[in-house]
Symmetry: C2
Subunit: 307 residues, 2 copies
Amino acid sequence: MAQIYERVALIGLGLIASSMCHAMRRAGLAGEIVGYARSAETRDIAREIGLCDRVCDTAAEAVKDANLVVLCVPVGAMEAVAKEIGPALKPGTTVSDVGSVKRTVVDAVGPYIPEGVHFIPAHPLAGTEHSGPRSGFAELFDNRYTIIVPVEGSDPQAVDRLTSLWTGIGALTETMDADHHDLVLAVTSHTPHLIAYTMVGVADDLRRVTDSEVIKYSAAGFRDFTRIAASDPVMWRDVFLNNKEATLEILGRFTEELFALQRAIRQGDGDHLHDYFTRTRSIRRGIIEAGQDTDAPDFGRVKARKK
Amino acid sequence: MAQIYERVALIGLGLIASSMCHAMRRAGLAGEIVGYARSAETRDIAREIGLCDRVCDTAAEAVKDANLVVLCVPVGAMEAVAKEIGPALKPGTTVSDVGSVKRTVVDAVGPYIPEGVHFIPAHPLAGTEHSGPRSGFAELFDNRYTIIVPVEGSDPQAVDRLTSLWTGIGALTETMDADHHDLVLAVTSHTPHLIAYTMVGVADDLRRVTDSEVIKYSAAGFRDFTRIAASDPVMWRDVFLNNKEATLEILGRFTEELFALQRAIRQGDGDHLHDYFTRTRSIRRGIIEAGQDTDAPDFGRVKARKK
């Protein structure tokens, strides 16, 4: 594939940035990849494993002469980073990000973007429970959606170019406005994560059932919650603090439905339970048909067992 | 491996029974496997795919001269089946089951077990979202726990023999009393399933976010809920109706914790969120170390993509 950006600067070197490194290299999309991370330890690891072509000791140095700057830091850290790099950005550069919330990022970063610099927020919907510069892999974005969130006045050509990068990395892309993005993600990601964290926290805190029992017998359903409840705590703290309204709205709907099911259990209303459990099957079929999961038994874990 | 039972009768031919068929055959544990299912369609499919050595048209006929009878029907159907087969059971036979709830099965089935017949309930903690006679596979129980729940007066030799069958099938085994089993499963399985069903139901019912959006963007966390929310509706209706007390107890704890997190979001209490999300990571590590999940990125789905 042809090079899309001569120089790409990644600010923050966690799971997403390190996966972008591997994926851009796989496809030859960037002339040079420059990286920066706040922690010296992370920068040292990045240098040791040769993650980027160059690791800088300040964000301002990293973005110098970059054609694309991608902010890959927790949502709560976006504003400080934007403030720091703003003066170093040259006209014609595109600034994007990979934050899981878009409205607050648009509001926090926008004011620091100089005239002539293109600001095009984005969000790749991909992840694992691992974090840090060693956790990345080139296939992370394959066949997963990246949502591009152009702001008012975003240059269409710059949007197309960023879109090409993401498709070149293996992703499918869609555009969406910031508020709708935040609501969709509250449903498909943020509320599910909060619920998983809650369930795992409850299991960890019971006196009559030991942690060892919870762990041994987790394959009966609980296990699937623990993966998402092992995601990065700082990233997720920031998600909830920054997508407060939409998350609380969906949580309100969730508890309403949960109480209705709880009452059905208490009253022995089998029909209510059966009808509800039947309805939810069709969504699963849709996900398999859309290629967003495999229907291999047990997530294809069979081969991974007994290691 | 040596044969353990000369004749095994499986009552109900869904995911668990069909997986037991394949697994017993793989290891040569049963001389003859006889099957019965209530629906003529299921019996026909079982015959067509050669699932058992013999498929009978009544449960009583299927259990005749069996050394082991395993009830593989939804929990709510156990009593009727026990009543039907009771008179056909010969002394020395072992009757077991695979129900997800144990106290109500013990109480419902026990009275129909004749003198001299060993009643030893059990519960294999393994499953997928698929059901029916075609869904089974020999590896389902490999490295997963089967909990054996001996009742008062269970013959130790008969318990050992049943335990050998499960270990021969690939499972790890533990013994537990019925009430503790039901509490442990309320935490590790029943409440997580109810919560997953609820979340998927909420997502399916929003006007401002379409089903198509939920499906496309499911990889961000929601997807992991849809697998367990696609499980068999009859089975799960019966689980909740029959493990009411323990499920409601754990649900109460869950909503208590969820409300505390919800308040932290509303009040912007980042420390509370961060502390909670940090605590839940250790449980995940325990599960990986215990071999009950893989830490392959994205559940090892990478290779399954783009099919």
